[in-house]
């Protein structure tokens, strides 16, 4: 069953087509990945699904649980159960870890924070008194971001480059949480150009120059990382795809 459907979605910004006629079905209960070279439109796709500012004026339609969400704001989409973890999470001066995790939590209870922090491998006793600010490392910040998502229990989690800027220990915890969320019924869409991250997925889409050029089970799509990026139209946009 499709949780999310993109139907012929195109996005043009500054005269450039960032997404071209993208149609994908995101099956409920699976971990999906979007792979492709830099500038292919992977992050753009996630931001378009989330409906961020500058990514709303699309052609085509986005349907979530059978209903169009094209006209919905970010928070309205989030309240339907969609959320996004940014490649570089924001830092909030002074905002406590507890307040941050509880902000979107399904249950506004302190034990929820303790459980969420434990799941991402952070000791609640050490982190509940801290702020989501510059004193946290990149890995800690990303894990706290994921803890907040775990507390939210979304229907669809969009994760942009989950391994960006994190150490090996952190990435293992992130992978554990992805699988845990899947077990609990969350559908996950990973944006990545990492073979290790792709291995977490059941199914993947290959995006190139804003177009979906291939899709299939993870094992077959993994061949992309062995240099077998086919079929590929290579139409010369963006510039980085020419080589």
């Amino acid at each position: 069953m499709n949780l999310l459907e993109l139907k012929q979605v195109s996005l043009i910004k500054g005269g450039k087509a960032l997404l071209r006629d993208v149609s994908v079905d995101i099956w409920e209960g699976y971990v999906h990945a979007v792979i492709g070279p830099n500038g292919a439109g992977k992050s753009t796709l996630a931001q378009t699904i989330m409906g961020l500012s500058g990514y709303r004026d699309i052609e085509g339609d986005i349907r979530f649980q059978g209903e169009s969400i094209k006209g919905l704001s970010v928070d309205e989409r989030a309240r339907r159960g969609i959320t996004l973890v940014f490649q570089e999470p924001a830092r909030f001066e002074g905002l406590g870890v507890v307040d941050f995790i509880l902000a979107g939590a399904k249950k506004k209870e302190r034990p929820v924070v303790e459980e969420a922090l434990s799941i991402v491998g952070l000791d609640p006793a050490r982190y509940m008194g801290r702020a989501v600010d510059r004193t946290l490392s990149g890995g800690e910040r990303k894990r706290i971001e994921l803890a907040s998502v775990y507390a939210m229990q979304p229907r669809l989690l969009l994760m942009d480059e989950p391994d960006s800027g994190v150490d090996i220990d952190s990435i293992q915890h992130i992978f554990t949480v992805i699988q845990k969320l899947k077990e609990q019924g969350t559908t996950v869409l990973l944006i990545t150009h990492s073979p290790d991250v792709l291995k977490q997925a059941d199914h993947a889409f290959l995006l190139c120059a804003g177009m979906v050029v291939d899709k299939g089970p993870m094992e077959r799509m993994y061949e992309y990382f062995n240099g077998k990026c086919t079929p590929c139209t290579h139409i010369g946009f963006p510039e980085v795809d020419k080589n």
Partner: protein, 308 residues
């Protein structure tokens, strides 16, 4: 109203009802000292002035006061002037923390004027936290002026907080002078609403080798509130270190202005400055929106963090 009733009402307005015997506290209503409870090593004396009250505070040499000393400054009627001249001495090697609660819960036309001079002796330290509790109408003029003198290796941290109720008009002026090895850390956190007008000046002169000064101003403004923040660091000694951090979130028709002045007179000194003024950070906002908060809820949470 009897003094005991006034004290009770003052304390109730700051949600504080009683102190233990080992906690020193002083209550001043208008220009009258209503109550003083001291602990060993702490001296407080006062005298009435024609238009105010003068207060002398001293922590004796080498004494470390364990619990914070509470000062409650307030005016319960909706009109009036409170003028306090305070002179504080923290003697060599002593340490203390003061918490000042300034409460004007019914203000319509109230003035609170504080002229403070603080001397912190060699190796001594003082933490001073001042929290204002105002009513919703903002009919308050707040004029706190403080001059702090830090001897060698002395330490002074101060926080001025005005988050609850309407600020009214605030004219805050803090100045500090640091001798060698001394550290001064000033922080102001205010939330301006309605027609509030806020003017903050924080200045420190680092005249001693290895002295440090940090000036922090975190301000949130909405409605038609206005703020001007002046942060000034003069570093004139070798290895002096300074930092200015000014952040202001502006909403609605509010206006904010920041005027940083950094003056380095010795090539071995180093002063940094950062300022961010404007609307709520879009990435912070989008993160919270993507957790399902409305824009208003997300903005409130970001401001809560900034002002915490």
């Amino acid at each position: 109203m009897a003094n005991t009733e006034l004290v009770a009402e003052l304390l109730a307005s700051i949600k504080q009802h009683h102190y233990g015997p080992d906690v020193a506290h002083v209550e001043i209503h208008g220009n009258e000292v209503l109550g003083v409870h001291l602990v060993p090593g702490l001296e407080v004396s006062s005298r009435s002035l024609p238009d105010g009250v003068a207060v002398e505070i001293r922590v004796q040499r080498g004494v470390h006061i364990k619990n914070p000393v509470h000062f409650c400054f307030g005016l319960l009627p909706n009109q009036g002037v409170q003028r306090i001249l305070s002179h504080t001495v923290i003697e060599e090697g002593a340490s203390a923390r003061f918490i000042a609660h300034c409460t004007f819960p019914n203000a319509v036309d109230v003035q609170h004027r504080m002229e403070a001079e603080i001397h912190i002796g060699k190796g001594a330290s003082l933490g001073y936290f001042e929290r204002h509790v105002h009513g919703p109408r903002g009919g308050v003029l707040i004029v706190p002026k403080t001059k702090v003198y830090l001897e060698e290796d002395a330490r002074y941290t101060t926080e001025f907080e005005l988050i609850e109720g309407a600020a009214g008009t605030v004219e805050l002026d803090y100045e500090g002078v640091c001798k060698a090895g001394a550290t001064l850390d000033m922080k102001a956190r205010l939330y301006g609403r309605l027609e509030d007008t806020i003017h903050i000046r924080e200045a420190v002169r680092l005249e001693g080798e290895g002295s440090t000064g940090v000036l922090t101003s975190h301000i949130a403004l909405k409605d038609r509130a206005q703020a001007t923040i002046e942060n000034e660091i003069i570093a004139e000694a070798p290895f002096a270190r300074g930092h200015v951090d000014c952040k202001e979130i502006v909403q609605g028709e509010a206006q904010a202005r920041a005027i940083p002045i950094v003056f380095v007179k010795d090539h071995r000194a180093h002063v940094t400055h950062e300022a961010a003024i404007g609307s709520v950070d879009s990435k912070q906002l989008e993160t919270l929106l993507s957790r399902g908060l409305t824009e208003d809820e997300a903005t409130d949470l970001i401001i809560k963090g900034l002002l915490s």
